[in-house]
């Protein structure tokens, strides 16, 4: 059960690239094609500093591609992508099979030169917060899919970058754990805000977590609609206002 407590943000994190003055990220008129397959065309989107923007869209419309562009892992064929350093939480968990769960989560700290013991000590309290205590020493293959995803999520947080690009982070969780994780993330972001670009296929999740929901078209993907959520937090998925917004997003998707 996610508990509240230790800070999740890593204030000591060095920031590699010069920050855009306003923070956040700007995607402007981006096109990205793979051979004949045009993944994105005319895609624009803005995440302001400390804003949570959810992206929903049909499968294959270029959502993962969008996140990789934002994280600088791909370059657009045309158009502009600029903003804060962003870290990608990939769709697959991609844990290192030879490392323990704790060492997987602490990997970004180790990569920044933090010693092994200290890195583990910093990652450990987060395990309890995400209901992973007792599994610190487990190898990834000994964890359930949902647990693996939570470890991957911790790894993303511990990178300390100001913008999180999350690719369906809670997709492989059961409904109950997913709701707990969403609650935990909402709480963590309320305590220590970060800019978040969240790709999800779950419109409800988008409405519960995001300040804004961007709806994408089928491939070639571009933004076809945008919904200001503007509901007070903490939100309830059963709240009639949330349900109405969800209906609107689903309408845009059709």
């Amino acid at each position: 059960m996610p508990a509240k407590g230790a800070p999740i943000l890593d204030r000591q994190a060095p920031v590699g690239e010069p920050r855009a003055a306003a923070g956040g990220v700007l995607v402007d008129g981006v096109r990205r094609a793979f051979g004949d397959v045009v993944a994105l065309d005319g895609m624009s989107l803005r995440v302001r500093r400390h804003e949570v923007v959810a992206v929903v869209g049909p499968s294959g419309c270029g959502k993962s591609t969008l996140l990789e562009l934002v994280c600088g892992l791909q370059r657009p064929d045309s158009g502009r992508v600029e903003g804060e350093p962003a870290v990608l939480m990939p769709q697959r968990d991609l844990l290192l099979p030879w490392s323990s769960a704790l060492d997987n989560a602490a990997l970004p700290l180790r990569l920044r030169g933090v010693g092994r013991t200290e890195a583990r000590e910093r990652a450990r309290p987060l395990f309890a917060q995400l209901g992973l205590e007792g599994f610190e020493g487990a190898r990834p293959h000994e964890l359930s899919g949902g647990m693996r995803q939570r470890v991957a999520f911790l790894r993303t947080l511990l990178s300390g970058k100001p913008l999180l690009a999350l690719d369906e982070p809670f997709a492989s969780l059961d409904a109950l754990t997913r709701a707990q994780m969403q609650e935990w993330l909402a709480g963590a972001l309320a305590r220590e805000p970060r800019s978040v670009l969240l790709v999800t296929h779950d419109v409800e999740e988008a409405v519960v977590l995001a300040d804004r929901v961007v709806v994408m078209s089928p491939r070639p993907g571009r933004a076809v609609g945008e919904i200001e959520v503007g509901l007070p937090r903490p939100r309830k998925r059963t709240d009639p206002a949330a349900v109405a917004l969800r209906e609107r997003a689903l309408e845009l998707l059709r």
Binding site: A86, P90, L94, L96, R110, S159
Partner: protein, 253 residues
């Protein structure tokens, strides 16, 4: 474990029995083909002789594999890191494998003398290739998504190598090492027969004109047992070092 060995064990016994029957009842001269029991006898009677030469050969094999591992891993890393090295050296490396070592071995002895050097050179030459190729395949075969992950976490080239590529290549490298130990023993015998005054290869060459055929066979048994135990040791090392690889098979082993 014991159950798995039952089948092969029985088959081996049947084959040995057939050999024994053929050698004893078929009227074959024992200098031409000794019966398995004669070979076992030679193993015991000549144990001192066999042991002395075994120590020599085993030393050559282990050192030779060591040389091949160091050189092979070094080459694989260089090929992996440098496109230039890959473009220029890799084709030569592959072409070098067409050189028949059997023919080159005596020439190396002419050049390097009767000591350890030509043995290491020959074993190294034979084992270098499987080690290099499997290690390089392992390094290059890393999941591209994992590379991407390391990039998004700002890992340096070296960190990506140390934390992801090297461990990911380990199972593949160990497969290469298994191939290497099997051929290393052959290489050692070849090298000793090309020119040597010691070692099991030399012992075999000497035993034949002395009509000590059983002793020569006993030396072959020792060599095979050595190769098999090296292979087994590597299989064990594999289980300990890379428990994440093949773990589905490992579960019911």
């Amino acid at each position: 474990m014991t159950r798995r060995l039952l089948g092969p064990g029985l088959l081996a016994l049947v084959l040995l029995g057939a050999w024994e029957a053929y050698a004893r009842l078929g009227g074959v001269d024992e200098f031409l083909l000794p019966a398995p029991t004669r070979i076992a006898e030679a193993l015991w009677v000549d144990r001192g002789l066999l042991w002395d030469d075994f120590v020599v050969t085993a030393g050559e094999v282990l050192l030779g594999i060591g040389v091949a591992l160091v050189a092979g891993i070094g080459a694989a890393v260089a090929l992996h890191f440098s496109p230039l090295v890959r473009r220029t050296a890799y084709p030569l490396l592959v072409a070098s494998q067409t050189i028949p070592i059997v023919i080159v071995a005596p020439l190396l002895v002419v050049w390097l003398g009767y000591d350890l050097a030509p043995k290491l050179a020959i074993i190294g030459l034979i084992c270098f290739f499987p080690v290099t190729v499997t290690a390089l395949d392992g390094l290059r075969g890393v999941d591209p998504e994992l590379r991407k992950l390391m990039r998004t976490l700002d890992a340096s080239r070296w960190q990506a190598f140390r934390r992801v590529e090297a461990p990911a290549a380990l199972p593949s490298l160990l497969s290469g090492a298994k191939i290497a130990v099997a051929v290393a023993v052959i290489g050692a015998v070849l090298a000793e027969q090309a020119g040597s005054s010691r070692g099991l290869g030399h012992l075999i060459l000497q035993a034949i004109p002395q009509f000590e055929t059983a002793r020569a066979y006993a030396a072959v048994v020792v060599l095979s047992a050595f190769a098999v135990s090296l292979f087994g040791a590597l299989a064990l090392a594999e289980r300990r070092l890379v428990p994440w690889a093949n773990r589905n098979q490992g579960d019911n082993a």
